[in-house]
Symmetry: C2
Amino acid sequence: MHILVTGAAGMIGRKLTERLLKTGTLRGRKIASLDLHDIVPAQAASTGGIAVKALTGDLADEGASARLIESRPDVIFHLAGVVSGEAEANFDLGYRVNLVGSKALFDAVRLTEGYTPRLVFASSIAVYGGPFPDVIPDDFQQAPLSSYGTQKLMSELVLTDYTRRGFMDGIGIRFPTICVRPGKPNKAASGFFSGIIREPLDGKEALLPVPRSVVHTHASPRAAVNFLIHGAEIDGAEVGPRRNITMPGVGVTVGEQIEALRRIAGEKVVGLIREEHDEAVWGLVKNWPTRFEAKRARELGFQAETSFDEIVRAHIEDELGGKVPV
Amino acid sequence: MHILVTGAAGMIGRKLTERLLKTGTLRGRKIASLDLHDIVPAQAASTGGIAVKALTGDLADEGASARLIESRPDVIFHLAGVVSGEAEANFDLGYRVNLVGSKALFDAVRLTEGYTPRLVFASSIAVYGGPFPDVIPDDFQQAPLSSYGTQKLMSELVLTDYTRRGFMDGIGIRFPTICVRPGKPNKAASGFFSGIIREPLDGKEALLPVPRSVVHTHASPRAAVNFLIHGAEIDGAEVGPRRNITMPGVGVTVGEQIEALRRIAGEKVVGLIREEHDEAVWGLVKNWPTRFEAKRARELGFQAETSFDEIVRAHIEDELGGKVPV
């Protein structure tokens, strides 16, 4: 089993790499080699008989994608992309990386004779745009309100068409917000969803810029990796022609997030959350999707946490060595 | 008022041109000039003070789109495209014309400083793919099952994003099947929907390759031109951010089509329809969408026929000089 991961130096890419190196198998086969691609070298060492190679480059460069798949990986995890805020701020970069880069990779696969790898693509619920019903069903229209969502959806469409034509065997995974995101606070408008859990657990103050009544859907980084692995292993015939699947998650209010933190880490930790309304953040967040039905994903065996308590515990286990601060 | 029409030599392009030359105004302003673009020269002469120019070329060629809009048309009707069957049979041509060509035109507009024309794009209900509910609501997912539908939908998405960003003022018109299509029978799988009306009215036999119970949605060529004109004139603010609109039409069974023909043209004409089941055509048609709600289009003032009788009469008026054969 030869695997390629693009965007391997990102948060999800690193966690996926860790998991693949730890389990050592995919689709019931032993992993022999793992190519990690990104614009900066991914940090991972060969281990347990798995040959790890860090490759750098830009998928949109002439010939870059073709070189990357010359070794014919059996499974490609295509995670590379610029994030929502960056795609909105930098028009050219967003289209180049998120659309042209993805299409270049898909075309390289298409043009390789007798080669139809499973390609798992990291898409996003940003393919949806409001107004929304209370719970978004799987058959709801995709009408993105961002360049990022547009680029992800266009890539999804190419994936579906190329799969239908037998050029590859694609599965698109529409991620909800990944929470608790480890690492430093970033400037993403969605950052506070993780910040109000991560920072207090680290003994630091966190700002809450929106009302506690805001509803949003979350899945842990651990669940995100599970989605990708299941996306690599699932039977394509079972999926059928609609290859892009909205993932399940935990739909909760910000207030419920905070109550989960209180139950697990106590009053003192929760006391580090300071409400400071931010009109700019609120202006974006109020138009975001709230809850997803994700019936199809569940039926296909994709699993997320079922409560926000589980999401907080996953963070404590995976990032804090299981220790809750007292 | 300066207007550009791409795909001007096609059936809808010719009818749109005729209408524009006849009415002489658009958006309440006098039409001064009309540029007709296609891969072959469109046949139309300057008339009534409107300067008509036939231009030929391929929108996807380097610089072709930029040259085409150098004169800064106030309204662009973008009808150019290869049809469904051709896009499926010829992968490279379909993506080149329907995706790269459209994006090249949209990008040329984007890159022209201080220029945000109304751009009316001819899209298609092929952006939808089954399985379908009995009546497809406006918020139903777009999951195309053809390369044509994929390319149209990708172009729609670029149109929406570019409009949201203020690069242009786009409106996408999702056409139902246009019926009765004038001219010779063609090889399109949908051809019989027109053929069973047009050929008998011309004294010729027509084959019916599917069961009479098949339901499908139709609008006349006249209605199609009305959609485009209304798309050019409608207030963009009223449309909002969802810029691609599924048009209304007449959803009927093939049996009801035939009954309308019988009411209008009599038994002898209907007797020219010969049922001859074609498994290949049926295999395609049975997966096509049946009825659309098109609530939004109606609310926005798009109007189609309300009965198939009207569609038959429109054909008789527009193509047969008002004369029903006896």
